[in-house]
């Protein structure tokens, strides 16, 4: 058994969902996503027993492209993040009625397929294909099933598409250049190349543009808030929960090992940019009226911190970044789902039109509260483990970084609690708020359970990712 099984399963799932009826599409998609989760857990089991679950075969002779999928701890962790979130994301759609549900869920599964491919690919060409492939489903999901004015949505989504696509083109150029030098796209060979300082500089910048737009770092983030707001919540979850992590993962997997010297050269500038994103995102989030937009900016702040950890380029930074990626993936999905749960009942995303929900559904309020607390990295949640590690790594680089990055502790609490107060507390709302349904409850409980368990016992994940991070660090140093 190797990792191709996972890809095949998800692809078949997407096709099967497409050919199933609209009525059962969500269930078919759920079945396949759960199956994918099971397979990925089985793969994890094999991997931890030392079995090699990588896959490699010649795909194209000229240019020399290998269909190479490499599963190390880091990839498996990201794959598990995807396969664990996909069922939850599919399940979270159970409360919505989508037109052409079969197309919708097929796209969701297809997106999971492409993202897993991105996480696994160890051949630059294959990686690039999966990277761009993941853009297509989310484009249609946001465009067709999004909300709000159709013209504004179209504008936002097309901007997103062109923006990210344009950024990726530079990455493609960098890959082609590397191919010229190496005669192959294979990761192992590419990272072993001996590149001059100038070459590294340009390659770093080319990759940086692609990733800075995807992650996003300021000032490349302008697509984010609008798309998050306009996309259907499932699309937002896919984007914020997993797709952002593609950019961060790629920084670790491709950018840093390929151009380590350039990365060191530009380290302070980029960490500065990332941390500016932390502060800026937090401050902009303070005055957002739309709940989804607020969460989008909070996401901007959090990924800024993760990116800073990546570019700190030491053990703690990278490890903390990976932990925080996973933690943030879960918590942001939970938070967007909470926004969706409110929307289903109140038909609004404007915070000032909510309020007083806690009295009506104490259960939902408690779960939302825990997610908010996880998002502000309260110790005991998984987010704290990641955030602490990242901040510590920054402090070993430069204490000023840690202080600036640490403002997220204060500002994050500021905007999240402010939002929570106005959305959930206060006098009982006149509008009816039905209690959470079973499917909604499962999503929340699964996410919260994950965050709390690994908050206290992150050791399995740390042990899973550490060897591969060490391998990356070997190339970086």
């Amino acid at each position: 058994m190797d990792v191709t099984l996972l890809l095949i399963l998800l692809f078949i799932g997407a096709v099967a969902t497409y050919f199933s009826g609209n009525a059962i599409a969500s269930k078919v998609a759920l079945f396949f996503s759960v199956a994918a989760l099971g397979v990925s857990l089985a793969l994890l089991n094999q991997f931890s027993q030392g079995t090699d679950i990588s896959f490699s075969a010649q795909w194209i002779k000229n240019p020399n492209v290998l269909f190479a999928l490499k599963a190390d701890g880091l990839s498996i962790a990201m794959v598990l993040l995807t396969t664990a979130l996909t069922p939850l994301i599919v399940l979270s759609g159970f409360g919505n009625n989508f037109n052409n549900a079969k197309n919708f869920y097929a796209l969701v599964l297809f997106m999971a397929f492409a993202m897993i491919g991105t996480f696994l690919a160890s051949d630059g060409f294959v990686y690039y294909i999966f990277w761009e492939l993941s853009l297509i489903p989310i484009y249609f999901i946001a465009l067709i099933w999004g909300n709000g004015d159709a013209e504004a949505r179209k504008k936002a989504v097309i901007k997103f598409f062109i923006y990210t696509f344009a950024g990726s083109l530079f990455m493609l150029a960098a890959f082609i250049y590397l191919y010229q030098k190496a005669g192959t796209f294979k990761w192992d060979v590419l990272v072993g190349l001996d590149l001059s300082a100038t070459e590294q500089f340009w390659i770093f910048l080319a990759f940086f543009l692609a990733y800075a737009i995807k992650i996003p770092l300021i000032p490349f983030h302008t697509w984010q808030a609008n798309v998050y707001q306009k996309a259907p919540t499932i699309g937002t979850m896919l984007l914020s929960g997993i797709m952002l992590k593609m950019g961060l993962y790629s920084v670790l997997r491709w950018q840093l090992p390929l151009a380590p010297n350039a990365a060191k050269e530009l380290q302070y500038i980029i960490i500065g940019l990332a941390l500016a994103g932390v502060v800026y995102g937090s401050i902009v989030a303070l005055k957002q009226k739309d709940l989804k937009k607020l969460l989008a900016y909070s996401s901007l702040a959090h990924v800024g911190l993760i990116a800073a950890g990546c570019y700190a380029m030491n053990m703690d930074g990278l490890r903390g970044a990976v932990l925080q990626m996973i933690a943030h993936g879960f918590v942001i999905v939970g938070l967007f789902f909470a926004a969706e749960v409110i929307y289903r009942r109140y038909e609004t995303r404007t915070i000032s039109e909510m309020g007083g929900i806690r009295q009506q559904t104490p259960k939902f309020a408690s779960m939302f509260m825990i997610l908010v607390l996880a998002s502000v990295a309260l110790p005991g949640t998984f987010n704290f483990v990641g955030e602490f590690t990242v901040l510590y790594s920054l402090s070993t680089e430069n204490m000023v970084f840690a202080v600036i990055g640490g403002t997220t502790i204060i500002l994050g609490a500021f905007y999240m609690l402010r939002m929570f107060q106005h959305a959930m507390l206060g006098e009982t709302n006149a509008k009816m708020f039905a209690d959470v349904t079973v499917s909604e409850g499962i999503v929340f409980v699964a996410i919260i359970g994950f965050l709390l368990f690994f908050g206290l016992y992150p050791k399995p994940i740390i042990e899973l990712i550490t060897p591969s991070i060490q391998e990356i660090l070997v190339h970086v140093k």
């Binding site: 902009v284 303070l286 957002q288 408690s366 204490m399 107060q421």
Partner: protein, 626 residues
């Protein structure tokens, strides 16, 4: 055996929390209260057992539960350290905690969310135990943030009132400002010593490893102190504590008087070996402490809300404790923490009893003459008031006197300021007593009709605490110094002061000062029967004090408003601007296309000319350039 007992100590309140969250409604209001109380009592019993053991063996108990976070150069275990200091703290955390739980059964009986209240209280105790018993800085930080969370939840317990929610949010965020300092301190310590474990840290410092960079150690100590000042409400982060009185009164007693706010003192005491390396920071601590004591006492002089008076009194007393810490007299600070926990908890619970009797009335101008209606409350509060004022032989006398004695030996200016603060304490506390319990009742007829002594569940904790407030000083009487000996393993040979003439003189001065304060209060509120004026009539210094030196307004104008303005500006302009830059690329491409379109003007002559020109260029290149 030890491990399971530790688990009992740690998890009993957590189990109480869980069962109250999930099953609290089924238990009923009393049931959930009893459950919560029993959970804390279980912890208390476990603590007592450990206390006896450690007291006899003199050896700390260190238990490794599991590995938590692995860092690059060190790993952080989920470890519990039960030594003299943490057990002492646990004793009064769980002990007073149990009493306050008991009290709350009656106090919160009429609330619709009683089970939630108890679950939060249990959770608080759980986190407080973590804070105290954690064997490294990060476990302590879990507890540290956790108690902040519980404080947030309990201040905003009546969440329908947005003012209360604001107070809760303010408390949480101001705490977090301190927490950032704490975290930075942790980072520096980890960076310098490659460990966060207290025992290892102490060994490293005593062995002189990693202590070369004194400036960095000083920074770490300062950052940790910022953390402490956030949690323990010192200048400039104290403004959340008076607002925190929005929570139910037992919460104020437990969290905002007896336990959580002393976490800062605990942390500094815990890391005393580190602070000893940073004398400058110690000086800062002492100065901040004494100024906090003064400022808070001054504000306390004119407050009319009974709980606000107590809140400022707490801030002021905490300031005195920090003064002691800054002077290196850690055991003195610990002593005052303990006595303060007794009498301040008693005072808060007493004020709760009064508020309960008056159906939520908190303004002292509408009280008076309650002495006859509520004798038990009156007596217990009187004892505690005498204790806090530093009247012989109550507990506060001994501890406060030791602080002042230390200050006198350390720095006379600090002593003078500390003494002034303590005279003011005597004044405003007796002002509170006189306004509340003496004279005529000034409330409505309806309230007067319902005046009653509180039930036993309320009075019993009061009596217990009052007794402790009366005799609590016995744990560290001069000459006996049990506490000093008990804590001796923690500190680097700090000699207790001998009872010499100076000491007697200072005791005399302190007592006389306290009596002067009481006398002024007596003459104003008993002899002249003054009642504080309405808020809008006060003037001059009085007005400044009544408005708390306008500190909240200043913070609002200097910090919060600019951040909001920046947020609005960013949202409305910077975001749009950045977005327009991105769209700008599109616009430029569009414009170029338009220009290019113009070139396709359909004029064949022009095309041909361009063609010929291109041809010439190619030929030129082929023949002349290459």
């Amino acid at each position: 055996m030890e491990t399971s007992l530790v688990l009992l100590l740690l998890l009993a309140p957590f189990v109480g929390f869980l069962s109250n969250v999930f099953l609290g409604k089924q238990f009923g209001r009393t049931g959930s209260g009893v459950l919560g109380t029993l959970a804390v009592v279980a912890s208390f019993i476990a603590t007592v057992i450990f206390f006896m053991q450690v007291n006899s063996t003199k050896e700390a108990i260190n238990i490794h539960l599991f590995d938590w976070i692995a860092m690059g150069k060190f790993s952080i275990g989920f470890d519990i350290l039960l030594d003299q200091l943490s057990l002492l703290w646990l004793m009064f955390v769980t002990g007073i905690g149990a009493l306050i739980h008991l009290y709350s059964i009656s106090y919160m009986h009429d609330d619709e969310n009683t089970h939630k209240f108890f679950s939060y209280l249990n959770l608080f105790v759980f986190f407080m135990i973590m804070l105290v018993a954690g064997s490294n800085l990060l476990i302590m930080f879990i507890g540290w943030e956790g108690v902040g969370l519980c404080s947030y939840l309990l201040i905003g317990f009546w969440y329908k009132n947005q003012d209360y929610n604001d107070a809760a949010k303010k408390a949480f965020i101001m705490n977090r400002i301190g927490d950032l300092g704490f975290l930075i301190g942790i980072f520096i310590i980890g960076y310098l010593f490659n460990t966060l474990d207290f025992v290892a840290l102490k060994q490293a410092i005593l062995a002189g490893n990693g202590t070369a960079n004194l400036a960095l150690i000083g920074t770490a100590a300062l950052c940790l102190f910022i953390g402490a000042s956030g949690k323990s409400a010192q200048i400039p982060l104290y403004t959340w504590l008076p607002d925190a009185m929005a929570g139910p009164t037992p919460v104020s007693a437990l969290i905002h008087a007896a336990t959580m706010v002393t976490a800062g003192i605990f942390m500094i005491t815990r890391l005393n070996f580190l602070f000893e390396l940073a004398p400058d920071v110690k000086m800062i601590i002492a100065v901040v402490g004494v100024f906090t004591a003064l400022v808070a006492a001054a504000i306390g002089l004119v407050q009319n809300d009974i709980k606000k008076v107590l809140a400022y009194s707490t801030v002021s007393q905490l300031g005195l404790m920090f003064l002691a810490l800054g002077l290196g007299a850690y055991e003195v600070a610990v002593f005052h923490v303990i006595t303060h926990a007794f009498f301040k908890a008693c005072l808060f619970l007493g004020s709760g009893s009064v508020i309960h009797a008056l159906h939520g009335e908190q303004d002292m101008r509408n009280m008076g003459g309650l002495r006859k209606a509520m004798p038990v409350t009156f007596i217990t509060m009187l004892i505690s008031t005498l204790a806090i004022s530093g009247i012989f032989p109550f507990a506060g006398f001994w501890s406060k006197d030791e602080i002042l004695l230390t200050a006198f030996h350390g720095n006379t200016v600090l002593w003078v300021l500390g003494s002034i603060a303590s005279i003011m304490t005597a004044f405003y506390m007796f002002r509170l007593m006189f306004l509340t319990f003496f004279g005529e009742f000034r409330g409505t007829e309806e309230q007067k009709h319902h005046l009653h002594e509180s039930p036993a569940l309320i009075t019993v904790p009061l009596i217990v605490l009052a007794v402790l407030a009366a005799i609590g000083g016995a744990i560290n009487l001069p000459g006996n110094n049990w506490l000093n000996h008990y804590l001796a393993p923690l500190f680097k040979g700090h000699e207790a002061h001998h009872l010499d003439n100076t000491a007697y003189m200072l005791m005399g001065i302190a007592t006389v000062g306290a009596l002067i304060g009481i006398g002024i209060a007596y003459s104003m509120y008993i002899s002249k029967k003054q009642v504080p004026e309405a808020d809008d009539k006060v003037q001059g210094l009085h007005k400044v004090l009544a408005n708390k030196f306008y500190l909240d307004e200043i913070y609002m104008a200097v910090i919060v408003k600019p951040i909001y303005a920046l947020a609005k500006f960013s949202r409305d302009y910077i975001e749009k601007g950045l977005s327009n830059i991105v769209f700008g690329f599109g616009t430029v491409a569009d414009g170029l296309a338009l220009q290019g379109k113009k070139m396709q003007n359909g004029n064949i002559g022009f095309y041909l000319f361009a063609f010929v020109f291109g041809l010439c260029s190619i030929v030129y290149y082929l023949f002349f350039v290459r």
